[in-house]
């Protein structure tokens, strides 16, 4: 293989961007929660897998196409996240970061092992929408393209929601300064519940898309949470747009490492990138310095 063939380079770039778009949907949700409540949700990837397994069940028993099951799964997980915040996350908001890390770690252990009990550690997949679009010299995998398009649309929709609507403005206000937001008459607790629900719904949507591309098991969460962390460190913690660019960057770097070295090393890229960024700039590339919990 001619390594520096422009066609291969471009093909890898396309693959990387497609993968990155899916990461973006996942990582933006994680960053949203961190921004609003200063809680790092270690169970985020498990929420994604809740979406993935819901889509798997719908496909397996009812024959639903994953793109259709989005319509059912995403609202359901939104409600789940909404109430999860109320019973669990609300208890740790404003407490030291250690407490919220450990609490969400506990949640992820519970979800992971319930997943193992229900589905075993066997890998599942949803073999729907296969094949590739061939355009000239390039081949674009259909499921990846579909996942990337849906992911970009959803991420853009959430971004516009945060940027343009009144409710979105309230969410941004809480993430800027919760106490002042409360003084201005914003129901901070409701905002936190909504935000967590939104973040869980984004994770679940990513999970549904994931079923079309990868085979997955309850234990797949670990890889994805690692990628998310690399992304939000690159993009800056709590920075929604930063997470988007970080995702595309990680996707592309993984594609090149997978293409030129081996796909197994591509798994470790996220971690190495994370450590490298922390070494150079301890507050992330987009540089939102870590602030003490002020909620």
């Amino acid at each position: 293989m001619e390594l520096l063939d422009p066609i291969i380079l471009l093909q890898l770039l396309i693959d990387g961007l497609l993968a990155g778009a899916l990461y973006a949907l996942l990582a933006c949700g994680l960053n949203l929660v961190f921004g609003v409540m200063r809680v790092i949700n270690l169970a985020h990837a498990e929420l994604m897998l809740v979406g993935a397994f819901a889509a798997y069940l719908l496909y397996h028993y009812l024959g639903w196409h994953p793109l259709w099951s989005l319509l059912l799964v995403v609202p359901m997980v939104f409600v789940l996240g909404f109430y999860l915040e109320r019973v669990l996350i609300e208890c740790v908001v404003g407490r030291p970061l250690l407490t919220s890390l450990l609490a969400t770690y506990g949640l992820s252990i519970i979800l992971l092992n319930l997943g193992l009990l229900a589905f075993t550690s066997e890998y599942k997949s949803v073999p729907e929408l296969q094949g590739a679009l061939v355009m000239g010299e390039f081949a674009i995998s259909k499921p990846r393209a579909a996942a990337a398009i849906v992911s970009v649309l959803l991420t853009a929709a959430v971004f516009l929601f945060l940027d343009r609507t009144r409710l979105g403005k309230a969410i941004r206000a809480v993430s800027e300064h919760a106490q002042v937001a409360a003084i201005c008459g914003i129901d901070v607790r409701m905002i936190r519940m909504l935000t967590f629900g939104l973040s869980a719904a984004m994770a679940a949507a990513a999970g549904v898309m994931l079923t079309m591309i990868y085979s997955f098991s309850p234990e797949s969460g670990a890889d994805f949470i690692q990628k998310c962390f690399a992304i939000i460190i690159i993009g800056g913690m709590g920075n929604f747009a930063g997470a988007f660019y970080g995702s595309l960057l990680l996707g592309v770097v993984e594609a090149y490492v997978g293409g030129f070295a081996s796909s197994q090393w591509a798994e470790a890229v996220a971690y190495l990138l994370l450590v490298a960024v922390l070494l150079i700039r301890p507050s992330g590339l987009k540089g939102v310095a870590y602030a003490k919990p002020q909620v």
Binding site: R95, Y271, L274, V295
Partner: protein
């Protein structure tokens, strides 16, 4: 309070005596069980040293255990005597911890936890991919004639648990320990009064990597077979954290109590619901974090000396 100090000393000595004489009157099954309790005590104390004392949660401590296990197994195969393999296992984990600590402990707050979270995974990937050294996913089997007896392993593990506990007890009372707890309570304030926070954190981290390394090596000799999944094990990681928090993090007795109670619970639960036991550990972790921040020890001692976050700041 000198009284309590002596009471702790007497209680500790009595427990140690009991543990040392146990092989005389219990069968192999209980010896094995006690060995695992000692292992969890040693690992818990090591985690306690960095995470309990400074509040910097390490989600990747099992990585040092895994490195020690591989180092111990490979050194044993290379013909070193078992005790040297154990010491070197600890030494290698320590050497690995120095650059890691220097790198990650300059980071504040969540960044350290995030950087450590993936370490265990990286260890597992490395152990799987580096087939020339580690035999990859096939793992390493140790021939029975190379291995020390169960009783030797029992005493090695007991020694490690005792050493780890004594280190924590010593650190707890020393100026170094006071500085570590100052970092936990308020790092900026600690820095302001002249605590060299980075040096202290790195020191605690390196010390806390030494024990899991040695424990890993003994574990490899105890089970006689290791593979990447069994030693870079996420389940072990969870157990260490749950045990320390359950007993009372940042204290000397916490990991001892936690290891005793959790291991007995695990033994009982394991028989009845083998699959659900980790999910139950997760529930236990949540319950402790939310409702019992000082751990079991806060029942025993009136004045909570564990986590400071029992005084919760709560706003709208």
């Amino acid at each position: 309070m000198p009284n309590r100090k002596y009471k702790d000393l007497w209680l500790g000595t009595a427990l140690l005596m009991l543990a040392m004489t146990a092989p005389l009157y219990v069968n192999d099954y209980y010896q094995s069980f006690l060995l695992q309790v000692f292992m969890m005590i040693a690992l818990g104390q090591a985690w306690n040293l960095i995470s309990g004392m400074t509040g910097y949660v390490s989600f990747g401590h099992t990585a040092f255990f895994g490195v020690g296990a591989y180092a111990g197994a490979l050194l044993l195969l290379a013909g070193f005597p078992w005790w040297l393999a154990v010491l070197k296992g600890g030494g290698i984990a320590l050497l690995l911890a120095i650059p890691l600590g220097l790198l990650t402990l300059r980071l504040r707050g969540p960044y350290f936890a995030i950087a450590m979270l993936g370490l265990n995974e990286v260890g597992r990937i490395a152990a799987t991919l580096w087939t020339d050294l580690t035999h990859g996913g096939d793992g390493i089997s140790l021939a029975p004639d190379l291995l020390p007896s169960l009783r030797t392993n029992y005493f090695s593990m007991l020694t490690l648990a005792t050493t780890a506990t004594l280190i924590v007890a010593y650190v707890y009372r020393s100026r170094f320990g006071l500085e570590l707890r100052a970092i936990r309570e308020d790092e900026e304030a600690a820095e302001m009064v002249g605590v060299n926070t980075v040096a202290n954190k790195v020191m605690a981290f390196v010390l806390s990597a030494l024990i899991p390394g040695a424990v890993g090596a003994v574990y490899a000799m105890y089970t006689s077979y290791i593979n990447p999944q069994s030693v870079f094990s996420p389940a072990l990681n969870i157990q260490i954290i749950v045990i320390v928090l359950f007993g009372g993090s940042g204290t000397v007795w916490g990991p001892l109590i936690g290891a005793g109670v959790v291991m007995v619970l695990r033994e009982l639960l394991w028989a009845q619901f083998p699959a659900a036991h980790l999910a139950l550990l997760g529930v236990l972790l949540l319950a402790v974090v939310l409702y019992l921040p000082g751990g079991l020890l806060s029942f025993v001692r009136a004045r909570p000396q564990g986590r400071a976050d029992s005084q919760v700041r709560k706003t709208p």
